[in-house]
Subunit: 429 residues, 2 copies
Amino acid sequence: MKPIADYSENQLTALLSQLKTQYKEAQAQKLKLNMARGKPAATQLNLSNGLLEKMENYTLADGTDARNYGILEGIPECRELFGRLLDVPPGQIIIGGNSSLNMMFDVISFLCLFGTGGSKPWLYHKYCNTPVKFLCPVPGYDRHFTICEELGIEMIPIPLGEDGPDMALVKKLVLEDKSVKGIWCVPLHSNPQGVCYSEEVVEQLASMETASKDFRIFWDNAYGIHHISEEVPLKNIIKECEKHGNPNRIYYFFSTSKISFPGAGVALVASSTENTTELKKHMSAQTIGHDKLNQLRHVQFFKTPENILHHMEKLAGDLKPKFDMVADKLEKDLAGSGLASWSNPKGGYFVSLDTLPGCARRTIELAENAGVTLTKAGAAYPYGKDPKDSNIRIAPTYPAIDELKKAMDIFIICVKIAGIEKILENKTK
Amino acid sequence: MKPIADYSENQLTALLSQLKTQYKEAQAQKLKLNMARGKPAATQLNLSNGLLEKMENYTLADGTDARNYGILEGIPECRELFGRLLDVPPGQIIIGGNSSLNMMFDVISFLCLFGTGGSKPWLYHKYCNTPVKFLCPVPGYDRHFTICEELGIEMIPIPLGEDGPDMALVKKLVLEDKSVKGIWCVPLHSNPQGVCYSEEVVEQLASMETASKDFRIFWDNAYGIHHISEEVPLKNIIKECEKHGNPNRIYYFFSTSKISFPGAGVALVASSTENTTELKKHMSAQTIGHDKLNQLRHVQFFKTPENILHHMEKLAGDLKPKFDMVADKLEKDLAGSGLASWSNPKGGYFVSLDTLPGCARRTIELAENAGVTLTKAGAAYPYGKDPKDSNIRIAPTYPAIDELKKAMDIFIICVKIAGIEKILENKTK
């Protein structure tokens, strides 16, 4: 498509009419396609079906019967496996249930209820009309923002650049305002843009001075080994925080939701010894222990960190054609048009697309009415408010590739319609 | 043993010396026996090993892939199965992870963080120096009390009689004090005494007038189908609460921890539609959904409520000889002695024994030093404080029967030593 700026008003009207004909044809197909959520496809899940085999052995190396009660922090085998994978001492790892999101919510709930290291409970500040604030790199993961909203934590959007959050702004805010007690980070292949944090950004996060003593980084390394086109390194933030004398600053989350099964994986939180001891104290009031059989199942299936990485290569093989196809279509149909820009992620689960300002909501609505469901407009921003109304998250992983093709064709028509409508509307103003 | 009152001081001294010889012989055996926790034995767990078979089918009746994300409230099949078992509408059931304790903690945390039905968050009252109070029938389950202690909820002990808590006192306190917002109930085969709540008690709990609008019953029906010697009926408290216009008063907890596997079962909370809707709202910020494969595994293994009940009969068959043996030994060695009284539970996991006042701690210490671990003294009371220092919880389920026999023999020696020591001490005062 030639640059939209080169079209005359008449040409734009003609093009819009032509696109609307294509749109009606698409509608007539009565499709039901979904690019809304970052769900793995069945083809990916099938690669983990070894987890469903008969479990012959349920006795741990130390003789514990994994069927019975106990082991709050997770079985040693499992902590060892993920400790080696993530280069974190197993003693600093707590294995939870099937959801790292649940662990994030619980950790922040604990902070709200109990505080940390003797500090006031975070909820206390709310009752004193100085609610806790979190820095939220945007666009970001909607469920992080939902946790904050639910718990009454105020969110401050921070622009997310090519190598991480705008650190000048981050450093200024954490130094100025002691109510700022947290930052959400998806440091590799971020949701939705695929941003990977540089060494410098990790170092600054670990070392920066903060007004609040109990400032915490919520490090959701959801895509830590989810490389597709290129393996991207990530500096070890736990070590960095230790090195800079801030060992308690970090809560590191990880899960196998997009490695084995989203519905039945294992999740973990890693942190300093002081923090994990504190977490375990609260957890010991909450549970006797999480599902040890599922932890053991994962250990028996994967055995070594190397096998997990090899498994990820197979998953990437399934994902790459989908991401390539999305990139190709966007390039072919929208490059140079001036109607949109988009990310070319090296891994993760999403492509992020920015329409012209004021066009995201309309694009998503058009797609919905032609049978293509996308993530809600604004979802990647705190309180669901995209100030420019331009960001759209594309989740290409779940549909089969031929369905994804159809969905992308319709989606691109919608991007164009919404964009041209907006240009014409602006001209008539 | 003849009544302790019939012994002269000299006879008591002689008896004590004889018991101490037996005690030293026991110590010389260097045993390591444990009657501390209500853990099922491996023989019981083996009856659920069908859960470890290969999972051939992971697709739900509605076509959902149980391996993938979703279904916050648990799979329909599982809610249906337990709904029929417990006579609760499946729509009022939320299936959680592997631990009902975790669901209890989370529900109370939600109440502390968010309140309910528009009421103030329970933590708010703490900051206003009017902390929330819970009624705690005693002796009771230590982990309930730990939740309250962790969350800063004040506990008021309530005597637990033969058919439930002292309802005159309960009704007085809930009417007088609007800070009283909860009561812990283990309504069948209570931990540790095996008390079963009568119809009248259930009716009164459901219908009584309370000063606090958000007063809640935490109904931990942990042993709801765990009959051993006799099946005991329990009035349906959810229906009773509805009938009396207090549908939101009840949170009903249940799990398969002592049906299938303690480490890998499924748990649930049931309540009114209004309460479950509210819980799901908070849960939706916490997780995308719990482990659906494990839910499906349980549905595929048990299939029907009738099968679950039949399974419980098999488990009871394993437990009965142990409970009978404990009862026989206590009867044979302590009945009529005046040194102890104890419960004869019809189900559940425990036997509760009361020593002479001031003898529980000493008895448990003596047992520990002879290699028999018992639950910590005072554990069955709020803040770990047994005002009479007389209650001891015996957990006979985990050890093999020959080990249990040895442990009971030693335990009884310890009860006698501690009792006679105390009597002699009192005489010399």
